[in-house]
Protein backbone atom coordinates (compact mmCIF):
# COMPACT_ATOMS: atom_id res chain seq x y z
CA UNK A 1 0.00 0.00 0.00
CA UNK A 2 1.05 3.60 -0.45
CA UNK A 3 2.28 5.81 2.37
CA UNK A 4 -1.10 7.55 2.38
CA UNK A 5 -2.83 4.21 2.84
CA UNK A 6 -1.11 2.20 5.56
CA UNK A 7 -3.88 -0.43 5.74
CA UNK A 8 -2.49 -3.89 5.27
CA UNK A 9 -5.33 -5.47 3.32
CA UNK A 10 -3.39 -8.65 2.71
CA UNK A 11 -3.13 -9.20 6.45
CA UNK A 12 -6.82 -8.43 6.91
CA UNK A 13 -7.76 -10.82 4.14
CA UNK A 14 -5.51 -13.51 5.52
CA UNK A 15 -7.02 -13.23 8.99
CA UNK A 16 -10.70 -12.67 8.20
CA UNK A 17 -11.74 -14.14 4.87
CA UNK A 18 -14.04 -17.09 5.33
CA UNK A 19 -14.46 -16.58 9.06
CA UNK A 20 -18.05 -17.36 10.10
CA UNK A 21 -19.20 -14.75 12.58
CA UNK A 22 -22.97 -14.95 12.83
CA UNK A 23 -25.91 -17.26 12.24
CA UNK A 24 -29.64 -16.55 12.24
CA UNK A 25 -32.82 -18.31 11.22
CA UNK A 26 -35.53 -16.86 9.02
CA UNK A 27 -39.03 -18.16 8.33
CA UNK A 28 -40.48 -16.65 5.16
CA UNK A 29 -44.26 -16.49 5.27
CA UNK A 30 -46.44 -16.52 2.16
CA UNK A 31 -47.81 -13.05 2.83
CA UNK A 32 -44.35 -11.55 3.17
CA UNK A 33 -43.14 -13.33 0.04
CA UNK A 34 -46.06 -11.92 -1.93
CA UNK A 35 -45.61 -8.43 -0.50
CA UNK A 36 -41.95 -8.46 -1.49
CA UNK A 37 -42.77 -9.75 -4.98
CA UNK A 38 -45.34 -7.00 -5.44
CA UNK A 39 -42.91 -4.37 -4.20
CA UNK A 40 -40.38 -5.57 -6.77
CA UNK A 41 -42.90 -5.42 -9.60
CA UNK A 42 -43.03 -9.16 -10.16
CA UNK A 43 -45.79 -10.38 -12.47
CA UNK A 44 -45.05 -14.10 -12.46
CA UNK A 45 -47.81 -15.98 -10.58
CA UNK A 46 -45.17 -18.30 -9.09
CA UNK A 47 -44.25 -15.35 -6.85
CA UNK A 48 -47.69 -13.79 -6.40
CA UNK A 49 -50.22 -16.60 -6.05
CA UNK A 50 -49.78 -18.73 -2.98
CA UNK A 51 -52.05 -21.37 -4.54
CA UNK A 52 -49.76 -21.72 -7.56
CA UNK A 53 -48.26 -25.23 -7.62
CA UNK A 54 -44.74 -23.75 -7.86
CA UNK A 55 -45.27 -20.87 -5.41
CA UNK A 56 -41.93 -19.66 -4.10
CA UNK A 57 -40.08 -16.58 -2.90
CA UNK A 58 -38.80 -14.10 -5.50
CA UNK A 59 -35.11 -14.74 -6.29
CA UNK A 60 -33.96 -11.62 -4.43
CA UNK A 61 -35.99 -12.28 -1.28
CA UNK A 62 -32.92 -13.24 0.71
CA UNK A 63 -31.45 -9.75 0.31
CA UNK A 64 -33.79 -8.61 3.07
CA UNK A 65 -32.69 -11.35 5.46
CA UNK A 66 -29.72 -9.77 7.16
CA UNK A 67 -27.61 -10.97 9.96
CA UNK A 68 -27.85 -8.67 12.93
CA UNK A 69 -24.12 -8.16 12.75
CA UNK A 70 -22.36 -6.81 9.68
CA UNK A 71 -18.77 -7.39 10.74
CA UNK A 72 -17.12 -9.85 13.11
CA UNK A 73 -16.12 -8.74 16.57
CA UNK A 74 -12.56 -7.49 16.46
CA UNK A 75 -12.64 -6.69 12.74
CA UNK A 76 -10.29 -3.75 12.13
CA UNK A 77 -11.70 -0.27 11.73
CA UNK A 78 -11.49 0.77 8.10
CA UNK A 79 -12.34 4.35 7.30
CA UNK A 80 -14.97 6.06 9.37
CA UNK A 81 -18.69 5.52 9.87
CA UNK A 82 -20.75 2.74 8.37
CA UNK A 83 -19.76 3.37 4.78
CA UNK A 84 -22.15 3.30 1.86
CA UNK A 85 -24.07 0.40 0.34
CA UNK A 86 -22.17 -0.98 -2.65
CA UNK A 87 -25.00 -3.26 -3.75
CA UNK A 88 -25.89 -6.90 -3.41
CA UNK A 89 -25.55 -9.89 -5.70
CA UNK A 90 -27.69 -12.98 -5.29
CA UNK A 91 -26.99 -16.52 -6.37
CA UNK A 92 -30.13 -18.66 -6.38
CA UNK A 93 -29.49 -22.32 -5.72
CA UNK A 94 -32.94 -23.75 -4.99
CA UNK A 95 -36.52 -22.46 -4.55
CA UNK A 96 -37.52 -21.03 -1.18
CA UNK A 97 -41.01 -22.14 -0.17
CA UNK A 98 -43.44 -20.66 2.32
CA UNK A 99 -42.85 -22.21 5.70
CA UNK A 100 -39.22 -23.07 5.04
CA UNK A 101 -36.88 -22.46 7.93
CA UNK A 102 -33.74 -20.86 6.53
CA UNK A 103 -30.46 -20.71 8.35
CA UNK A 104 -28.26 -17.84 7.26
CA UNK A 105 -24.56 -17.91 8.03
CA UNK A 106 -22.50 -14.74 7.74
CA UNK A 107 -18.88 -14.67 6.61
CA UNK A 108 -16.47 -12.09 5.24
CA UNK A 109 -16.14 -13.06 1.58
CA UNK A 110 -13.72 -10.40 0.37
CA UNK A 111 -11.93 -7.20 1.27
CA UNK A 112 -10.36 -5.24 -1.55
CA UNK A 113 -9.48 -1.69 -2.49
CA UNK A 114 -9.86 0.39 -5.60
CA UNK A 115 -9.36 3.99 -6.58
CA UNK A 116 -11.78 6.45 -8.08
CA UNK A 117 -12.57 10.15 -8.38
CA UNK A 118 -13.18 10.35 -4.64
CA UNK A 119 -9.92 8.65 -3.71
CA UNK A 120 -9.15 5.19 -2.36
CA UNK A 121 -12.08 3.05 -1.31
CA UNK A 122 -12.17 -0.26 0.50
CA UNK A 123 -14.90 -2.75 -0.35
CA UNK A 124 -15.98 -5.16 2.37
CA UNK A 125 -18.07 -8.06 1.10
CA UNK A 126 -20.30 -9.78 3.66
CA UNK A 127 -21.65 -13.11 2.45
CA UNK A 128 -24.86 -14.65 3.78
CA UNK A 129 -25.25 -18.31 2.85
CA UNK A 130 -28.76 -19.69 3.32
CA UNK A 131 -29.79 -23.32 3.72
CA UNK A 132 -33.28 -24.69 4.30
CA UNK A 133 -34.49 -27.03 7.02
CA UNK A 134 -33.17 -30.00 5.00
CA UNK A 135 -29.71 -28.54 4.91
CA UNK A 136 -30.06 -27.78 1.21
CA UNK A 137 -28.27 -24.58 0.14
CA UNK A 138 -30.86 -22.22 -1.37
CA UNK A 139 -29.24 -18.80 -1.75
CA UNK A 140 -26.02 -16.84 -1.40
CA UNK A 141 -26.07 -13.06 -0.99
CA UNK A 142 -22.93 -10.94 -1.26
CA UNK A 143 -23.39 -7.47 0.19
CA UNK A 144 -20.73 -4.89 -0.53
CA UNK A 145 -20.08 -1.95 1.73
CA UNK A 146 -17.77 0.83 0.54
CA UNK A 147 -15.61 2.80 2.92
CA UNK A 148 -13.43 5.71 2.02
CA UNK A 149 -9.95 5.87 3.52
Amino acid sequence: MSEENPLDLEAIRSEWLGVEFDERTFEPEASRMIAWAEACGETDPRFLDENHPDFQAPPNMTTIFNSGRFLPEGFPNIGSGFGIDGGKTVECLAPIRAGDVLTGTATIADVFDKTGRSGTMVFIVQRMTFSNQSGEPVSVVDWKTIRGI
Binding site: M1, S2, N5, F112, K114, T115, R117, S118, T120, F123
Partner: protein, 212 residues
Protein backbone atom coordinates in the same frame (compact mmCIF):
# COMPACT_ATOMS: atom_id res chain seq x y z
CA UNK B 1 -12.09 0.65 -38.40
CA UNK B 2 -13.76 1.85 -35.23
CA UNK B 3 -13.25 0.14 -31.88
CA UNK B 4 -14.39 1.09 -28.41
CA UNK B 5 -11.14 0.57 -26.50
CA UNK B 6 -12.51 0.78 -22.96
CA UNK B 7 -15.42 -1.38 -21.77
CA UNK B 8 -16.24 -3.44 -18.70
CA UNK B 9 -18.37 -6.56 -18.43
CA UNK B 10 -19.74 -8.43 -15.44
CA UNK B 11 -16.21 -9.78 -15.01
CA UNK B 12 -15.42 -6.44 -13.37
CA UNK B 13 -16.69 -5.98 -9.83
CA UNK B 14 -18.68 -2.92 -10.85
CA UNK B 15 -19.63 -4.05 -14.35
CA UNK B 16 -23.29 -4.77 -15.06
CA UNK B 17 -23.07 -5.63 -18.77
CA UNK B 18 -22.97 -9.08 -20.29
CA UNK B 19 -20.76 -9.25 -23.36
CA UNK B 20 -23.52 -10.65 -25.54
CA UNK B 21 -25.78 -7.80 -24.49
CA UNK B 22 -23.13 -5.31 -25.68
CA UNK B 23 -23.22 -7.09 -29.05
CA UNK B 24 -27.00 -7.00 -29.20
CA UNK B 25 -27.05 -3.30 -28.29
CA UNK B 26 -24.49 -2.41 -30.94
CA UNK B 27 -26.51 -4.15 -33.63
CA UNK B 28 -29.93 -3.04 -32.38
CA UNK B 29 -28.84 0.60 -32.21
CA UNK B 30 -26.78 0.31 -35.40
CA UNK B 31 -23.79 1.86 -33.67
CA UNK B 32 -20.84 2.54 -35.97
CA UNK B 33 -18.56 0.18 -34.05
CA UNK B 34 -16.63 -2.67 -35.60
CA UNK B 35 -15.84 -4.07 -32.19
CA UNK B 36 -14.79 -3.38 -28.64
CA UNK B 37 -12.11 -4.18 -26.10
CA UNK B 38 -12.96 -5.54 -22.65
CA UNK B 39 -10.71 -3.85 -20.09
CA UNK B 40 -11.68 -5.48 -16.81
CA UNK B 41 -10.57 -3.78 -13.60
CA UNK B 42 -7.39 -4.98 -11.86
CA UNK B 43 -7.26 -8.33 -13.66
CA UNK B 44 -6.80 -10.01 -16.99
CA UNK B 45 -9.59 -12.37 -17.98
CA UNK B 46 -7.57 -15.08 -19.67
CA UNK B 47 -10.31 -17.68 -19.75
CA UNK B 48 -13.38 -16.18 -21.40
CA UNK B 49 -13.76 -17.03 -25.08
CA UNK B 50 -16.00 -14.71 -27.07
CA UNK B 51 -15.23 -16.05 -30.56
CA UNK B 52 -18.76 -17.40 -30.95
CA UNK B 53 -20.11 -13.91 -30.30
CA UNK B 54 -17.66 -12.43 -32.80
CA UNK B 55 -18.99 -14.84 -35.40
CA UNK B 56 -22.65 -14.38 -34.53
CA UNK B 57 -22.60 -10.59 -34.43
CA UNK B 58 -19.77 -9.81 -36.85
CA UNK B 59 -17.82 -7.85 -34.25
CA UNK B 60 -14.22 -7.88 -33.08
CA UNK B 61 -14.11 -8.59 -29.33
CA UNK B 62 -10.71 -8.26 -27.70
CA UNK B 63 -9.50 -8.51 -24.12
CA UNK B 64 -7.19 -6.16 -22.22
CA UNK B 65 -6.93 -4.79 -18.68
CA UNK B 66 -7.40 -1.61 -16.67
CA UNK B 67 -4.79 -1.51 -13.92
CA UNK B 68 -4.30 1.07 -11.19
CA UNK B 69 -1.06 2.94 -10.61
CA UNK B 70 0.35 5.72 -8.48
CA UNK B 71 -0.43 8.02 -11.43
CA UNK B 72 -3.98 6.85 -12.00
CA UNK B 73 -5.61 4.18 -14.10
CA UNK B 74 -3.90 2.65 -17.13
CA UNK B 75 -5.22 0.50 -19.96
CA UNK B 76 -2.93 -2.32 -21.01
CA UNK B 77 -3.45 -3.93 -24.41
CA UNK B 78 -1.70 -7.13 -25.45
CA UNK B 79 -1.60 -8.71 -22.00
CA UNK B 80 0.24 -12.04 -21.97
CA UNK B 81 1.56 -14.47 -19.36
CA UNK B 82 4.87 -12.62 -19.07
CA UNK B 83 3.12 -9.37 -18.27
CA UNK B 84 0.66 -10.95 -15.84
CA UNK B 85 3.65 -12.28 -13.92
CA UNK B 86 5.50 -8.96 -14.04
CA UNK B 87 3.38 -7.13 -11.49
CA UNK B 88 0.28 -7.52 -9.34
CA UNK B 89 -2.69 -6.45 -11.44
CA UNK B 90 -4.89 -6.34 -8.31
CA UNK B 91 -2.84 -3.66 -6.55
CA UNK B 92 -4.06 -0.08 -6.63
CA UNK B 93 -0.67 1.61 -6.38
CA UNK B 94 1.58 -0.01 -8.97
CA UNK B 95 4.33 2.44 -9.96
CA UNK B 96 3.47 3.84 -13.39
CA UNK B 97 7.06 3.72 -14.73
CA UNK B 98 7.22 0.03 -13.80
CA UNK B 99 3.93 -0.71 -15.58
CA UNK B 100 5.06 1.15 -18.70
CA UNK B 101 8.41 -0.63 -18.70
CA UNK B 102 6.86 -4.04 -18.13
CA UNK B 103 4.35 -3.51 -20.93
CA UNK B 104 7.11 -2.50 -23.34
CA UNK B 105 9.28 -5.42 -22.34
CA UNK B 106 6.46 -7.92 -22.75
CA UNK B 107 5.28 -6.62 -26.11
CA UNK B 108 2.16 -4.96 -24.76
CA UNK B 109 0.95 -1.35 -24.97
CA UNK B 110 0.10 0.69 -21.88
CA UNK B 111 -1.71 4.02 -21.94
CA UNK B 112 -3.27 6.05 -19.11
CA UNK B 113 -7.05 6.40 -19.31
CA UNK B 114 -9.28 9.34 -18.29
CA UNK B 115 -6.10 11.38 -17.60
CA UNK B 116 -8.09 14.53 -16.86
CA UNK B 117 -9.90 12.95 -13.93
CA UNK B 118 -9.30 13.88 -10.31
CA UNK B 119 -7.37 11.31 -8.26
CA UNK B 120 -7.32 8.58 -10.90
CA UNK B 121 -6.12 10.63 -13.88
CA UNK B 122 -2.54 11.09 -15.02
CA UNK B 123 -2.55 14.86 -15.27
CA UNK B 124 -3.81 15.38 -11.71
CA UNK B 125 -0.73 13.48 -10.54
CA UNK B 126 1.53 15.40 -12.92
CA UNK B 127 0.51 18.56 -11.08
CA UNK B 128 1.72 17.12 -7.80
CA UNK B 129 4.57 14.82 -8.76
CA UNK B 130 5.75 15.89 -12.20
CA UNK B 131 5.63 14.10 -15.54
CA UNK B 132 6.63 10.50 -16.17
CA UNK B 133 8.91 9.48 -19.04
CA UNK B 134 7.58 6.79 -21.29
CA UNK B 135 4.00 8.02 -21.61
CA UNK B 136 3.21 8.56 -25.29
CA UNK B 137 -0.50 7.86 -25.63
CA UNK B 138 -3.52 8.63 -23.43
CA UNK B 139 -7.28 8.23 -23.59
CA UNK B 140 -8.47 11.75 -24.40
CA UNK B 141 -12.16 10.93 -24.76
CA UNK B 142 -13.80 8.82 -22.05
CA UNK B 143 -17.52 8.11 -21.96
CA UNK B 144 -17.61 8.35 -18.18
CA UNK B 145 -16.05 11.77 -17.94
CA UNK B 146 -17.81 14.66 -16.30
CA UNK B 147 -17.65 18.11 -17.92
CA UNK B 148 -14.12 19.47 -17.97
CA UNK B 149 -12.27 16.17 -17.68
CA UNK B 150 -11.99 15.35 -21.37
CA UNK B 151 -11.30 18.98 -22.18
CA UNK B 152 -8.33 18.89 -19.80
CA UNK B 153 -7.20 15.58 -21.31
CA UNK B 154 -7.27 16.94 -24.87
CA UNK B 155 -5.49 20.14 -23.86
CA UNK B 156 -2.76 18.48 -21.85
CA UNK B 157 -2.21 15.67 -24.35
CA UNK B 158 -1.85 18.24 -27.11
CA UNK B 159 0.65 20.27 -25.14
CA UNK B 160 2.73 17.21 -24.32
CA UNK B 161 2.56 15.63 -27.77
CA UNK B 162 0.71 12.54 -26.62
CA UNK B 163 -1.42 10.60 -29.07
CA UNK B 164 -5.06 10.34 -28.04
CA UNK B 165 -7.62 7.58 -28.30
CA UNK B 166 -11.19 7.15 -27.09
CA UNK B 167 -13.20 4.63 -25.12
CA UNK B 168 -16.63 4.57 -23.53
CA UNK B 169 -15.58 3.16 -20.13
CA UNK B 170 -19.00 1.54 -20.25
CA UNK B 171 -20.19 -0.54 -17.32
CA UNK B 172 -23.75 -0.92 -18.62
CA UNK B 173 -24.78 -1.84 -22.14
CA UNK B 174 -26.33 1.47 -23.14
CA UNK B 175 -23.04 3.32 -22.66
CA UNK B 176 -20.97 1.38 -25.16
CA UNK B 177 -19.78 3.47 -28.08
CA UNK B 178 -20.12 6.80 -26.29
CA UNK B 179 -16.47 7.27 -27.25
CA UNK B 180 -14.28 5.12 -29.48
CA UNK B 181 -11.18 5.10 -31.67
CA UNK B 182 -11.06 5.27 -35.45
CA UNK B 183 -8.06 3.34 -36.81
CA UNK B 184 -6.59 3.57 -40.29
CA UNK B 185 -5.64 -0.11 -40.13
CA UNK B 186 -7.85 -3.16 -40.08
CA UNK B 187 -7.74 -4.93 -36.74
CA UNK B 188 -8.67 -8.58 -36.29
CA UNK B 189 -6.84 -9.55 -33.13
CA UNK B 190 -4.99 -8.12 -30.16
CA UNK B 191 -1.64 -8.13 -31.98
CA UNK B 192 -3.17 -6.03 -34.74
CA UNK B 193 -4.47 -3.62 -32.10
CA UNK B 194 -1.11 -3.27 -30.37
CA UNK B 195 0.55 -2.71 -33.73
CA UNK B 196 -2.01 -0.10 -34.74
CA UNK B 197 -1.66 1.75 -31.44
CA UNK B 198 2.11 1.86 -31.90
CA UNK B 199 1.74 3.54 -35.29
CA UNK B 200 -0.28 6.41 -33.83
CA UNK B 201 -2.57 6.31 -36.87
CA UNK B 202 -5.87 6.67 -35.06
CA UNK B 203 -8.27 9.32 -33.82
CA UNK B 204 -10.52 9.58 -30.79
CA UNK B 205 -14.16 9.91 -31.77
CA UNK B 206 -17.35 10.46 -29.80
CA UNK B 207 -20.92 9.45 -30.53
CA UNK B 208 -22.28 10.70 -27.25
CA UNK B 209 -25.50 12.56 -27.80
CA UNK B 210 -25.25 16.21 -26.94
CA UNK B 211 -27.03 16.88 -23.68
CA UNK B 212 -29.38 19.84 -23.88
Amino acid sequence: MILDLHTHSIKSDDGRAKVENYCKWIRKKELPLDGFVLTEHRQFDATSDYRHLEDEYGLVILKASEVETDYGHVLVFGVNDDLVNSFDFAKVDNPLPMVLEAADRCGAFAAPCHPGRKNVGLFAHYENKGAVDGVHTVEVLNGGSIPGEDELSVEQAGQRGYAGFGGSDSHIVSRIGYCATDFDADIADIDDLVGALRTGNFRAVTYREQES
